[in-house]
């Protein structure tokens, strides 16, 4: 592994995708088609995912004990999830003892209300934000805006997106669909409307653009009175919060303002300070392929002096967010998704993500993890959420790279079953039984997903077909032949589908299996 030529977008982990109204969002295949047709975007995505993927593999290979770290990380998360009530209460006690205030939010609306009230109580009408999945999930910026508060995103990529009135497109490099000339134009046209304008004669070299962003945002950091963040980890035993990042905007938001508000999903708690020794090794390597990201900040309430020493904020609020997480916890197969540390490694290895891009998943959570998180967080009532479990070839690459060993294919198969057969689920804490999707709806979802996957190389298909054949013979194989071999060595296979989608598709549609070919130009990576 070498330096950081393709280092991260700031906050380690997932990219930002706005959470659209799932009821009005098209099913995954329709949404994906747009991206698949966009040759330039696909080439960019392919380049980004492959570059980061290769680097990650090198970073991981450096640690001879990777598998043991992975098993330990999984165990820590499982232990926590089993006793989540206990650890959250302990966390609350520790944070409170260190001078912080803990708030509990059952859903997005409540979290937004709490944060908005906290901000308004300071008398401020501006906040600086460091990128956080949780605040994107609940639509905090929009809620603040409705209350007359402007939230400034401070990651470089988020800034580009915010100034360009845009949607982010890729996880580590959210502004990947904008080239440097466009970024320069956006900076020239928009910066002045938000604060310090772009320097005269701004050029389009990345260094110049970064300098313009530095100057523009510095003004905001230096005067900001309120900062809003998420956190990668929270330690129950000590009340310590942890944020990993690259650019330093996280440090600015966490250190300079007088009031700091962190919105964090309840699954981010870990029992002990020592547990961080696992994740501080696995997260940077999985996420940005680095031995360590440039900056990691750990803070505990208001510090040893309770804020009296003038080091950091004088008020700290932690908002613990449920918003569907306890519903996921109630599902014995699906709950493993709560182990996720948002590293994005599963995205970068996913053949479907590489083709479809992030927007197609219709949620802030893209890629394989999005395909299992969104339908669980939101239910499978909408076309997008019912089709997401099909947005996969079940190739298993996501499981292979996951630093907390989430068996995404297993959860996908489980969720497909739910969509097709119905069954018990928990919604807002209440156990209900969902009815099977009407035959047509389920078939349509699978069919449309299949269309997207059809022009995959044949190698994947071979594995699927052999699995299905084995199943028809009553064999439940433990090793998948071909490209799936690596992961079957380490795990039980999920129940294979009785008929691979490709075969089913071919049977249903005859020779129409090549309909996607006209979309295939530009598939060879960047020119």
């Amino acid at each position: 592994m070498t330096g950081r030529e393709t280092g991260p977008g700031t906050y380690l982990g997932m990219p930002a995708f706005p959470d659209p109204d799932p009821a009005r969002f098209p099913a995954f295949p329709e949404a994906a088609r747009e991206a698949v047709r966009d040759a330039a975007l696909r080439a960019n995505l392919r380049y980004a995912t492959h570059t980061i993927r290769d680097k990650r593999a090198r970073a991981v290979a450096e640690l001879a004990d990777w598998d043991r770290l992975r098993a330990a990380g999984k165990a820590v998360k499982d232990r926590t999830l089993r006793h989540l009530d206990r650890y959250l209460l302990q966390l609350e006690e520790s944070v409170t003892a260190a001078g912080g205030t803990v708030h509990w939010a059952a859903d997005a609306a409540e979290a937004n209300r709490i944060v908005t009230e906290l901000v308004l109580a300071t008398g401020e009408r501006e906040v600086v934000k460091v990128k956080s999945m949780a605040t994107q999930e609940i639509g905090l910026n929009e809620a603040l805006e409705a209350a007359g508060v402007t939230a400034y995103e401070t990651d470089l990529a988020e800034l580009i997106v915010q100034l360009g009135h845009d949607r982010p497109s890729h996880i580590l490099v959210p502004a990947i669909h904008r080239n440097r000339g466009e970024i320069r134009d956006i900076f020239r046209a928009e910066m002045g409307r938000w604060g310090r304008p772009a320097p005269e004669g701004l050029g389009d070299s990345p260094a110049e653009l970064a300098e313009a962003a530095r100057l523009h945002l510095r003004e905001k950091f230096l005067r900001a009175k309120v900062g809003i963040s998420g956190a990668n980890f929270m330690v129950a035993e000590t009340g310590t919060m942890v944020v990993l990042e690259s650019e330093g905007n996280g440090r600015m938001c966490l250190t300079l303002p007088e009031t700091l508000i962190s919105v964090v999903g309840i699954e981010k708690v870990v029992p002990t300070f020592r547990d961080l020794e696992i994740f501080l090794q696995t997260l940077p390597r999985s996420s940005t392929a680095e031995r360590m990201n440039p900056y990691t900040t750990l803070w505990t309430g208001l510090g040893p002096s309770k804020g009296a020493d003038g080091d950091g904020p004088s008020a700290f609020h932690l908002v613990l967010l449920d918003n569907g997480r306890t519903d996921i916890l109630a599902d014995e197969v699906g709950r493993q998704a709560l182990r996720c540390i948002r590293c994005s490694a599963c995205l970068n290895v996913c053949p479907v993500y590489e083709r479809a891009g992030g927007h197609a998943y219709g949620s802030v959570y893209p890629g394989p993890i999005g395909a299992v998180l969104s339908p669980q967080l939101r239910g499978t009532g909408s076309p997008i959420d019912a089709s997401l479990p099909y947005a996969s070839t079940l190739c298993g690459a996501c499981y292979d790279v996951c630093p907390v060993a989430i068996d995404i294919p297993e959860v996908l198969v489980h969720l497909r079953e739910r969509v097709v057969q119905g069954g018990p689920v928990t919604r807002r804490g209440v156990r209900v039984r969902i009815r099977p999707a009407r035959g047509h709806a389920a078939e349509r979802a699978a069919m449309r997903a299949a269309r997207l996957l059809l022009d995959r190389p044949d190698a994947l298909r071979a594995g699927e077909r052999l699995l299905a054949r084995a199943r028809r013979l009553g064999i439940r194989p433990h090793r998948l032949p071909g490209p799936g071999r690596a992961w079957t060595d380490a795990r039980e296979l999920p129940e294979p589908p009785p008929e691979p989608f490709r075969d089913w598709w071919a049977r249903e549609r005859g020779t129409a299996t090549r309909t996607g070919s006209k979309d295939r130009k530009g598939d060879d990576g960047p020119k």
Partner: protein, 213 residues
């Protein structure tokens, strides 16, 4: 019913029989190689340099002139932030035109923005990850003084302050202190995947490995 009670009740319903605590298999490595102290320092230096920090080695005699040079050679580096517990002899060789600005609680962020550089010690350094860790001790000062200036000079006492790995570092740190792990200068590659140093943190990081002689 408060939201707290509601969430806790949902958790208890979701996992009605949590069972005993799971054992955490901690058979991962405590360090990824056996190293002599000198090898450990060499690895730290190599990893810091790979992340584009500038690494210097010196002994007590060479430290004051080295710091004077590092602070002087940067154009305009004439105001340096000094944490309260910084050994005064470190800056003894810097000439009088260098304005020493103490780390004061009363300073605003804008005041700090006028400083050009900051010189600190550290709590420890981690060789395998190329990280230095600050914990707000008197030779390091408040977190913001190592954040706002564009140039950070950090002195690491070697080999004493260098550990091999993350698992060796954590037990030496006090969790309740504010901790900042720094692994190379600020960075981004959000524009066409091109890595650019320095967005918001110090864009220049000098790490001085201070040996016993």
């Amino acid at each position: 019913m408060s939201s707290k009670d509601r969430i806790l009740a949902r958790i208890r319903r979701a996992v009605p029989e949590p069972g005993p605590d799971l054992e955490i298999p901690r058979d991962y490595l405590h360090a990824h190689a056996r190293r002599t102290p000198a090898e450990r320092v060499d690895l730290l230096a190599a990893h810091l340099a790979e992340y584009r920090a500038r690494v210097h080695r010196t002994g007590p005699g060479g430290l004051p002139p080295l710091l004077a040079r590092l602070l002087g050679e940067r154009r305009g580096a004439r105001r340096v932030l000094v944490p309260p517990g910084l050994p005064p002899w470190w800056l003894a060789a810097a000439d009088d035109s260098l304005v020493r600005v103490p780390d004061r609680a009363s300073d605003t962020s804008a005041d700090l923005d006028r400083a050009d550089s900051v010189v600190t010690g550290c709590a420890l350094a981690v060789a395998e990850t190329g990280s230095i860790v600050l914990d707000g001790s008197p030779d390091q000062g408040r977190r913001r003084i190592t954040l706002v200036p564009d140039h950070h000079v950090c002195v690491v006492r070697v080999p004493d302050q260098v550990v091999d790995s993350v698992p060796q570092a954590l037990p030496l740190l006090v969790p309740t202190r504010p901790l900042t792990w720094i692994s190379g200068p600020s960075a981004t590659s959000d524009i066409e995947l091109d890595r650019v140093e320095g967005v918001h943190g110090p864009r220049a990081l000098d790490v001085v490995l201070l040996g016993p002689q």
